[in-house]
Symmetry: C2
Subunit: 227 residues, 2 copies
Amino acid sequence: MRSYGQYCALARALDVIGDRWSLLIVRELLGGGRRYNQLLEGLPGIATNLLADRLRQLETEGVLERDNEGRYALTAWGEGLREPLYDLARWAAPVVMARPAGEDSFRSEWLEHPIAIIYGGTDRRRPTMAVEVRSGERPMTIESSDGDIRVREGRHPAPDVVLSGPPDAILGLLAGFLDPALAEALGVEISGKAGRLRRLRPVLAHPSRSLDAATRAAARPKASAPR
Amino acid sequence: MRSYGQYCALARALDVIGDRWSLLIVRELLGGGRRYNQLLEGLPGIATNLLADRLRQLETEGVLERDNEGRYALTAWGEGLREPLYDLARWAAPVVMARPAGEDSFRSEWLEHPIAIIYGGTDRRRPTMAVEVRSGERPMTIESSDGDIRVREGRHPAPDVVLSGPPDAILGLLAGFLDPALAEALGVEISGKAGRLRRLRPVLAHPSRSLDAATRAAARPKASAPR
DNA sequence: CTGCATCCGGGCCGATACTG
DNA sequence: CAGTATCGGCCCGGATGCAG
């Protein structure tokens, strides 16, 4: 990308990570080092030459590097983008995530980030429990223990709750914006006791938006629900 | 811009503010409502049609609106971008602001943001004082009172210190990365007691970078100093 | 003077094909 | 598996025109 040519930290930051796709590449790498084809998989819509271009540029700028196995990984500086990106997501989410997912693509690995935002921090009042989520290609497991909540790939042998269906309704349910009945109306299949989800104490970013989110989501035609 | 088509808060945030120039328009509006031509002035290099396009898009997305006098101003949601943008700038600054300003453009109003970052928060130990800065078109005044530091346009009747010269060296001095002698070697004219600047207690983002910043800045040819 | 619209050359983007 | 090559089209940047 052409430089803005401004002596301003924001403009120069955008000279580094302002290109189309650059920040989404960083998002993919927040989960650890990835191979080229893994990145292609996690970035639906990107052209192969663009991915190669961006990787080269981000490497020369010092945001990422290739590890000894040829995989792409964030440098310490690149890892520092996590909080700015989460802040951007937190800013946008109340407005843009309330819109239905529609035809937008979804990768199950992306669950990690909204879950980290919804259940940020340690809260000892959280019970130990496991929730299995099936949305996207692979099953994912959300585990709560010692007040912390983590996400990992794969199934769980004895989950307390299993959720499957469209990602927007599942996230609405987990975030506490949708109650179980409404989530089911939007295509989520729930097995186990959905009521226990509340005890994970989601951090409600903007409670005033919850009604808005619910009504907008409800306006979505039910036909497009499961995927 | 074409949508990424991903159900991900970051991707959808970038659908809203990921276009070239969009975030810099937001930066300009963080200082309050601005007229079209003021924006053109604060965004050196932007084409008029692009400014018009971006303003329209950001307005329909709900990031900004036109006030009753026809000026462009951030909505409450748009104002929420301040912290994410400051975080991005804080992330980039230790690396990219250490590079000399060179031919990059600089507007004196931009001082507001780095000063807010350098002197973030209230610190009662700060003395009441005023620093006049002359870099860019207009003189700016930095005032410290009651532990807070603010920037405003215009001169000061009796400043404790006056700094004029290239913006990179002035900011390096204010941030505490350069001592007065080195700043003068880089083209800064100092009148008043530069030693008092330390008492404003800049928040050093990355002390480990300070040497790096000094040495890199020193590598700049002295010819390009004043502007 | 403000606030754009139009036109045009060049570069970036997106999709597909292809190669070591 | 990990990219490179190619090409149409759209976006960007700069200049200019013009209506209120």
